[in-house]
Amino acid sequence: MKYETIIGLEIHAQLLTESKMFCACSTKFGAKPNTNICPVCTGQPGVLPVMNQKAIELAIKTALALNCKIEKSSVFARKNYFYPDLPKDFQISQYELPLATLGHLDIVVEGKKKRIGITRVHLEEDAGKLVHKGAARIMGATESLVDYNRTGVPLMEIVSEPDLRSPAEAKAFMETLQHLLQFIGVCDAKMEEGSLRCDANISLRPAGEQKFGTKTEVKNMNSFKAVFKALKAEEKRHEEVLSEGGKINQETRFFDDITEQTIGMRSKEYAHDYRYFPEPDLVPIEPSADWLAKIKNTSGELPEAKRDRFLNEYKLPEADAEVLLATPALTAYFEECLKLYDHPKTIANWLMGDLTAYLKTNNLAIEQINLTPAQLVEMLQMIDKGTISGKLAKTILVEALKSGKTIKDIVAEQGLTQISDEGEIKNIIDEVIEKNPKQVGEFRSGKDAVVMFLVGQVMKLSKGRAKPDAVQKLLRQKLGQ
């Protein structure tokens, strides 16, 4: 029997705030354990949480970018459960009345655009971090250590509709979402570092069937690759069970990235009984039209609109637009260059070619280089003016990236300016003619192609500082005499 796969994703994204969701503790990653904590986030009696304005604005910004409807009033609730990483024994989250609902995100899979529904976007707080002792994981650990630094860090939950039909679509959704979150600057969105996390609900149904099959929830996918592999493995498991006439248990499964299989986690005795109720210490969020408009204005142009502009206005090939939009930093660099130098394709070529090659070889991100867009543009203008050759510029660029020196300094220091003095070129030409009587003879007897060899010799002697077309012209003049 043929089956259809149904996948829905639940994504958690850490918001880029300085302080926590409900208290003034730092959200900085990597601090000494339990130093970014206070009575509020550790749930001491009598404390009062207060909402972080920036966190709400970042979540609204995301919801708007995901085409969601921002709810007139949203409310925080207490989700009650016991777990050592949760010092209050409840998590402040949003439940019945989330911040935003009913949005969508377009993804492209195998060249085809597909619209994926967004069920909701809501705010909550992160939990602490557990370090297990006596075993690599919680299973088998003899005891655990808890660091509450992460407790209370603003977390945004994004829930997709069950619109995804394959592991590849799920992966594409995560990649598109990551790109968007990074682009609008609300989240680092690094899956490997945990600032972007994803749980997946997956079920299979016979092709053509309307009713959903029983779903399982897959956790512990720490990269895009893991999302794909975990869902592939779980899809296969469902198919095997179903085609043998078996039944899928509704359960949570853990992806083991070593065996690349999912493992059933012992189902809790009590199916989730979180006893949600409105958080009495927090008041509703009711964004005014003014506030929403202000947030919307901070969003700038979204990736999709930028892409259209790169293709239509700058007439860049699709592949170029793709590369230039790969990271927000690269896009910003490109646009900064463009402000100073109105040749999109030239800039694109340099960014995608030599600059990217250098970054790759040295394992650097564009944020880490000293060469400013203004510097790069200065170099491009020097090429246009004929001060340096395009070929030499490649060497100069690498030198600038390596040393952090300005383009001008490098050119001046190394005497790399193109020789525009005809007299100097003529001297070199004379030298070449003298040294290569055989080739000169061949040229004079009609072998025109030999001229290129002679031009090459002149270029070599001039250390690339002569202009090839000028050299050829002068050579021909001289040999034609």
């Binding site: 705030t17 300085e18 302080s19 003034a24 503790c25 730092s26 000494k32 354990p33 339990n34 130093t35 970014n36 904590i37 206070c38 009575p39 550790t42 001491q44 207060v50 909402m51 972080n52 304005q53 920036k54 966190a55 709400i56 009033s73 409310v75 009650n80 016991f82 777990y83 050592p84 009345l97 557990l130 370090v131 919680i138 299973m139 650990a141 003899t142 005891e143 655990s144 250590l145 808890v146 660091d147 509450y148 012992r266 009590y270 009984d273 006893r275 409105p278 009495p280 927090l282 008041v283 509703p284 969020i285 009711e286 964004p287």
Partner: protein, 92 residues
């Protein structure tokens, strides 16, 4: 109204003696019955509300203020190690 005292106690991590189960069971049932009288009220035209006070958007600026006595918080830990709270085995 009957209440499953055992389930409620377990969710709250409370160990109750048989006598306590009986006593609290009756008390909790009475509380629920009492709250049930509210159901008799016609609330068709009443907006659901989550808060009794008419306030909204109480916000703070995103600014870090380190806690003054952060180390005191760890003193609450029955056991600590490497500046972390130590807890017993989580899953059996």
């Amino acid at each position: 109204m009957k209440i499953d005292v055992e389930a409620v106690a377990k969710l709250a991590r409370l160990g109750l003696s048989p006598e306590e189960k009986k006593l609290f069971g009756e008390q909790l049932s009475r509380i629920l019955d009492h709250a049930d009288t509210l159901k008799k009220l016609n609330t068709d035209k009443v907006e659901p509300t989550s808060h009794a006070i008419p306030m909204k958007n109480v916000l703070r600026e995103d600014k870090v203020i380190p806690c003054a006595n952060v180390d005191d918080i760890l003193l609450n830990a029955p056991q600590a190690e490497e500046h972390m709270f130590k807890v017993p085995r989580i899953v059996e």
